[in-house]
C-alpha cells in the first residue's frame, strides 16, 4: 500500500514537471495515469519509494548530491589529467571489494555512485562482492585502499536507503 502511494507521488511529480500546466482536466488525467502506473508497478517490488518519503532520509539524499558532485568533479579532473598527459600514466586492473550494505537497492545505488567517481567502474555485482575496474591501481594494498573509499559512500547510502 505504501509502495503504491509513494510510486504514485513520484510519477505524478514527473507528470506535472513534464506538462507544466495546472489545468484541472490535465491534472485529473495525470493523476489517473500515475495511479494506473503505480498499481501496474506493484509486482516489481519498489521497496525504495516509501523510504524516500520520510523527511530525514530525504534530507540525507539532498546532502548526498553535493558530496557526490564533489567526488565526481575530482574524478573528472583526475581522468582528464591522465588523458591529456602525453605518456598516459595509467595502470588498469580489476579489483574486488566487499560491501556491508544489506538491501539490493542500496547496493545498486552504491555501484552507480562508484561508477561515477574516481577512476572506477563497477563491472559486476555478485552478492556482496563488487568487481571494480580501476584506471590506476595503487602500488601497494589495492584492496584496502578501495575498501576505504567505499566506506565514505556507505555511510550516506545506509542513512538514505536502509
Amino acid at each position: 500500500m505504501f509502495r503504491v502511494i509513494a510510486t504514485f507521488v513520484f510519477a505524478f511529480l514527473v507528470y506535472l514537471a513534464v506538462t507544466w500546466s495546472l489545468d484541472p482536466a490535465s491534472v485529473l488525467i495525470g493523476a489517473a495515469a500515475s495511479l494506473a502506473a503505480a498499481v501496474a508497478m506493484r509486482p516489481l517490488e519498489l521497496e525504495v519509494a516509501p523510504l524516500l518519503l520520510l523527511p530525514h532520509r530525504l534530507l540525507f539524499a539532498v546532502i548526498y548530491v553535493p558530496v557526490l558532485l564533489w567526488y565526481v568533479i575530482r574524478a573528472n579532473l583526475d581522468v582528464a589529467y591522465r588523458v591529456i598527459h602525453p605518456k598516459l600514466p595509467i595502470r588498469p586492473g580489476i579489483v574486488k571489494a566487499r560491501t556491508t550494505l544489506k538491501t539490493a537497492a542500496a547496493r545498486v545505488l552504491l555501484a552507480n555512485s562508484i561508477t561515477l567517481t574516481p577512476g572506477t567502474l563497477t563491472v559486476d555485482l555478485v552478492g556482496d562482492a563488487l568487481y571494480i575496474h580501476r584506471i590506476a591501481v595503487p602500488e601497494k594494498e589495492p584492496e584496502a585502499e578501495m575498501q576505504r573509499s567505499i566506506e565514505h559512500f556507505e555511510g550516506f547510502i545506509r542513512r538514505i536507503l536502509e
Binding site: V18, A80, I94, T115, L121
Partner: protein, 130 residues
Amino acid sequence: MTEWTFGTVAAAVVMAAGALFNLLGCIGLVRLPDVYNRVQASTKCVTLGTLLLLTGVIILFGFGSMGVKALVCLWFVAMTSPTAAHAIGRAAHRSGIRLWEKSVCDEYAKDREGAVEAPAGSPPAEEVAR
C-alpha cells in the same frame, strides 16, 4: 544570451566547463588503449559535461517550464549513464574481451573461472581479443 548579467555569466562559465569536459572525454575515447579504460574516461567525463550543460540551462532560465524539464532530463541522464556503462563493461568481459596486456590484476576473471562456461553463441576469446 545577449546582455551580460551575473546569471548569464555564471551559466556561460558552467556551460563552457561542460563542453570542455565533453571534449576531454572524447579525446580519452580515442587515446586510451582498451575497452574498459575507454568506458571509464568517456562515461565519466561526458556524463559530467552533459550534466553541467543542463545545469547551465537551469541557471539561465530558472525553475520555469524549461528549468524543470531540464531537471527531469538531468535526473534521467544521471540514472541511465552509469548503468549503461556497467552493462557494456559486463557484456564485454563476458563475451571474452581481454584486458589491456599491461593491466595489473583481474580478480573478476579469477573468480569467474570454472564458475560458468562461456555463454552460448559467443565466439572464443582469441577470436575477439585484438
